[in-house]
Symmetry: C2
Subunit: 613 residues, 2 copies
Amino acid sequence: MTHKVQVTYLPVGEAREPVMTRVPEGTTLFHAAHWAGLPIDSTCGGRGTCGKCGVRVAVGHAARTLADYRHLSERLDEGWRLSCQAVVAEEMTVEVPRLLHPPRAATMGVGRFVLLEPNVQKLMLELPAPSVDDHRSRLQHVRDALVEEGLEVTHDADLLPRLAEVLSEDAPTVTATVVGDRLVDVEPGDTRERMFGVSFDLGTTTVVATLVDLRAGAVSAVTSTINHQAPYGADVIARMGHAMGGPDEREQLRSAVVETLNGLLDDVCASASVAREDIYEAVLVGNATMLHLLLGVDPTSIALSPFVATFVDPQDLRASTAGLAIHPRGRLTLLPSFGAYVGADIVADVLATGVARDPERRLLVDVGTNGEIVCGSEARSVATAAPAGPAFEGGQVRCGMRATAGAIEGVDLEHGDVRLEVIGDVAPVGMCGSGLIDAVAQLRAVDLVDETGALLSRDDAAGHPLAERIVELEGGLKAFELAPGVVLTQLDIRELQSAKGAIATGIEVAMDTLGWTAVDLDEVLLAGSFGSYINPQSARLLGLVPPVPVERIKAVGNTASEGAKMALMSFREREVAFELPSFVEYLELSAQEDFNDRFIRNLRFPALEMVAS
Amino acid sequence: MTHKVQVTYLPVGEAREPVMTRVPEGTTLFHAAHWAGLPIDSTCGGRGTCGKCGVRVAVGHAARTLADYRHLSERLDEGWRLSCQAVVAEEMTVEVPRLLHPPRAATMGVGRFVLLEPNVQKLMLELPAPSVDDHRSRLQHVRDALVEEGLEVTHDADLLPRLAEVLSEDAPTVTATVVGDRLVDVEPGDTRERMFGVSFDLGTTTVVATLVDLRAGAVSAVTSTINHQAPYGADVIARMGHAMGGPDEREQLRSAVVETLNGLLDDVCASASVAREDIYEAVLVGNATMLHLLLGVDPTSIALSPFVATFVDPQDLRASTAGLAIHPRGRLTLLPSFGAYVGADIVADVLATGVARDPERRLLVDVGTNGEIVCGSEARSVATAAPAGPAFEGGQVRCGMRATAGAIEGVDLEHGDVRLEVIGDVAPVGMCGSGLIDAVAQLRAVDLVDETGALLSRDDAAGHPLAERIVELEGGLKAFELAPGVVLTQLDIRELQSAKGAIATGIEVAMDTLGWTAVDLDEVLLAGSFGSYINPQSARLLGLVPPVPVERIKAVGNTASEGAKMALMSFREREVAFELPSFVEYLELSAQEDFNDRFIRNLRFPALEMVAS
């Protein structure tokens, strides 16, 4: 791991306490301040061109850079530096002036205070009239006007025909749209009120699109749909299997996901009456396999040992390269992944929850075919993934089903009878993941399932008020009848046991790496759409999560979507997302020598309890 | 103009004199050394990543940059800096160590000594086997291996599918191809011997392609063809006129030129047995209008006052964006232009001849529909363009024709008879530009044309051995019969007069700006394919060039093509080309208040003589 260094920020002219943070060597003072939640002024987004992010280095040494000479020449001797150019190499104390123009902010994710400064900017420029005395090209006119605004831009070659067209109208007022440091459009007149972005949470099952009015800092429309890759496999393992069929199969998967995203774009644009051309940027998260498939990259190396992704770092590309139909020169950013099995969706979870950035010691679990686990605090954090298999999504379970009408999603056996929560106003026809967890947890609570996961026979349960519900199926398979035609079999319990054993092992390894036991945990966060439905009490009962007081277990909902939206609406949050993989250690669970021993121990309900001993 | 600062380089460990140069403030020590013809070691091309370009700053101040800390930390106090990061802000003296690995070099252009270090590099890498203990992505493996070689690279998103494909073969040896700082391909095994580039000289009339083996540093094939835009107009003015017809017309012009370039690619690839996929980079020069049309940019603003280009700075794009069929992720670089009418072809002329870079005081003239003029030395240089019109290309001339079979290209009247040089072994059918110049110059030499351009009548010429050749055509139009059916009319002489007047005025303005007269000129260079055919004596006689001793007038041939090739074969030369526009002042001739007075005076044969008075 990179060596970490402490930086202390002293806010000047504000009634704020000093802010301390520890960042990897080589981080800039500007980004380290993001990390610590302290905003430093900037209009260029930390590119050294606007000259607004000056801080005074009181203790420690920061080299004088060219940008410093350009913007702060008279104050260099006093220790002033552009924080975006100053790199942390040793312990430092830095004075930070108050924000000159405090940007708008909003509370997003799980109580995160987010400054609304998107990576897209629209600037109204008054261009000089072309003249024989002025030898600059028209492009240079635009670039020089942007430099006045503190932005040094690049461009793609196909901006040039557009530029010639727009500037031929001889109207001096134009609006330049800059995404990051790239000039993507110039329009006649003042179009600043039309500036949109879109974030995508590209799940294996469900894909969510959020259209954001970047000018207003508000969501314009949200919609979701089934990933059109579904016909090629129910879960991520199946999709990888299909992709391994060859280039044609990968192209099927790629075009299916592009079609899904463009369909969502149609929907959000229609519902908010926004033109696609006014969407300048997309931010996308998803697991590493989804990101590979979106870019047409063979995910075989993720599927097979040693489980290595082709790419995990953030990707910045033209949206059109990926087939995304936003502005023709609009950009697409994929957030980074922690590793092959802890993807950009989990980076977004972490962004939206503040795990790894706050002093609180937290465990975040995203339960699914893979259970992704992030555990830590600002001091140190680790991430890992546990191969849970399909049980939580209703796979390999006799009466398993997705969380749709007729699914049992909650079970209560503690009153001597069977009380069920069923989705929709219909008779139960099966159970979804949360129902499965509840059912097993309740059977365990009423002692019809023992610590080894064995369901008592009707004989052994004699006298128990629910003994009559225990039935014997073909081949002597024991089962518990939840409702007419809906049974939970011994095999189903074994499936759940295996899934929970994998996740509990991941949690255990992560916590052991940090030297933590359950008492060290301030919070356990259950993330992902499935996580929101798990009964915290049941999760604790089964040892799916460590034995913390149940009020510390929180379902935080779809934080991946929320994190993607944050990265879209705030360049500072995006930078934090980009840096998260270097702050959070990735553990490959299959590389743990004692994995099998741990797994077998954690099959017990609830072995994870032992962490707290 | 940018303020210029003197830098003195002291070569250490070499028997070389100190090298002095004056460069605009803000130039790096590395590039200033290129400029002065002194190579400093580098494998990353001046991007601050290889750490090889260290120099010791003996006099003057250079800020310590992050790259300095990374590569030279222990020698900073002694004044060592990476020259590619150190910016010239004041007079400096710098010690330069001897090149560790002197690259191959060749003499190119007009006696230029060029180091053969292309912008394309192929590196053989040994990648680590993927392992569960190594959390890096496959992309990171490649990037880390390149960092070991001193290269920090970016990539386009569509490299990723290729990467997954190549690295799935589990062979540890791959060859990475880097163009500039962009990783464009990874191939299995060692493919270093296949590394090609192509340079294009995109003329309005003729297009030349040069295929270069970048590994060997040698030309593999050269071919040329007529620009397929020809049906849309004979000269650049006509092409602009066609382009102003609308988007369809611009698309006709764009696709015609792309087709021309791809046709040439086919030819050079076939003749050298090279695959298009092994061509990783193209460098292209041409006048600004040709560059605009290639990128689909409306050239109207160039055509109409105040004559402003949409772009003049260098463009770096994917070759595929411009429709160029080289390696799918290959790059295309357009050299910069000095201004709307002094294009990248003239930048290439300057690169290939050393004008503006050498101490010699030189005038370079590229004669055509526009006469482009560059005049100066390392101390100061200016560029301008003169609207000569079509006369030099045979347009508006009764018996004018292109330089093909049957064209009179040389005339000698000094022996009392008419001696002609005709292209091809055929009877003369017309005259090309050089023939026109020769004919008028010879008539002037034998006093049949006076200083005002008036052709004597047969009566006034009575007694002259050539008087019989003077004829009278329709409407009393006087003419001189060069050959049966081939006449030079008084109107033709007026056309030439007007063309020469424009160019002479441009030369005069350029030289006046520098405070030079003819005696200050060390050399006059006639560039361009047409320039090579002009009789220097005739050019001087007519006042098309200043009155210097005729041996100082040199036809230098197609230096545009040569300059493009130099920029392809040497990243250092390319950087010089990129910087030339900030060294050379662009004069817009039509903005000169006394243009008309000067033009009228320069209609005389030979008013330019007066410069020397």
